[in-house]
Symmetry: C2
Subunit: 126 residues, 2 copies
């Protein structure tokens, strides 16, 4: 396996101390979910072009277990073990994100005064 | 901060037992590099639209400390602490990847017989 990867799957495997108000994805089974992604990619012979990676907190604790797939930036929430082969088959191989598992959050706009990251040069740079 | 992020930076913070032949990014200072990304994003007021994330092994141990920026899929290797503000300024804000830090690896093609992940349906799916 070697990058760059055609699709790079990040599974939050963050674990917080017991009783933390935010909870965490590991307690909700995300380590098993990550392992299942690895197994499914291997089974289908595509682990050479895709990677199921562990990630720290993806800042979507309320929606966990959280998974994000790049480069397309598709976010999945509340992922269960049995959803993994479906995501692999329909999205990673088939190219169709699994609608029912998409994380629901509003698109953010940069706040006024925030730097506007883009393809343009910020003022003052050469 | 909330996703989706305009740019999502993953820093490998994997740590292996001492003396492991592959080495690891944490031993090469990647935890400090990740912290520096967070500080720089905060300082520039863009931590609302970008996130510096910890990641498990990115499978580029020989090139570490390893960083990948999505959605563009730009890979940096051998990143030093002093490179962080440069990457933030030139790439994350300015949109110009920092050429001298790009990881050098060959583009991979899918092997014959491997599933070909794409936007097309694989044979046999409905």
């Amino acid at each position: 396996m070697a990058p760059p990867f055609q699709r790079h799957i990040f599974v939050c495997t963050n674990r917080r101390p017991d009783g933390h108000p935010k909870g965490d994805c590991a307690t909700k089974g995300s380590e098993e979910i990550r392992a299942a992604f690895k197994t499914e990619l291997d089974k289908r012979g595509i682990k050479g072009t895709m990677r199921a990676n562990a990630a720290g907190c993806l800042d979507t604790c309320a929606f966990g277990p959280s998974v994000v797939v790049y480069p397309e930036g598709v976010w999945y929430g509340g992922v269960k073990l049995e959803d993994v082969p479906v995501i692999v088959e329909e999205h990673l191989i088939g190219g169709r994100p699994v609608e029912r598992l998409l994380m629901k959050f509003a698109k953010k706009e940069a706040k006024p005064g925030e730097a506007k990251p883009a393809d343009t040069k910020p003022p003052g740079t050469p």
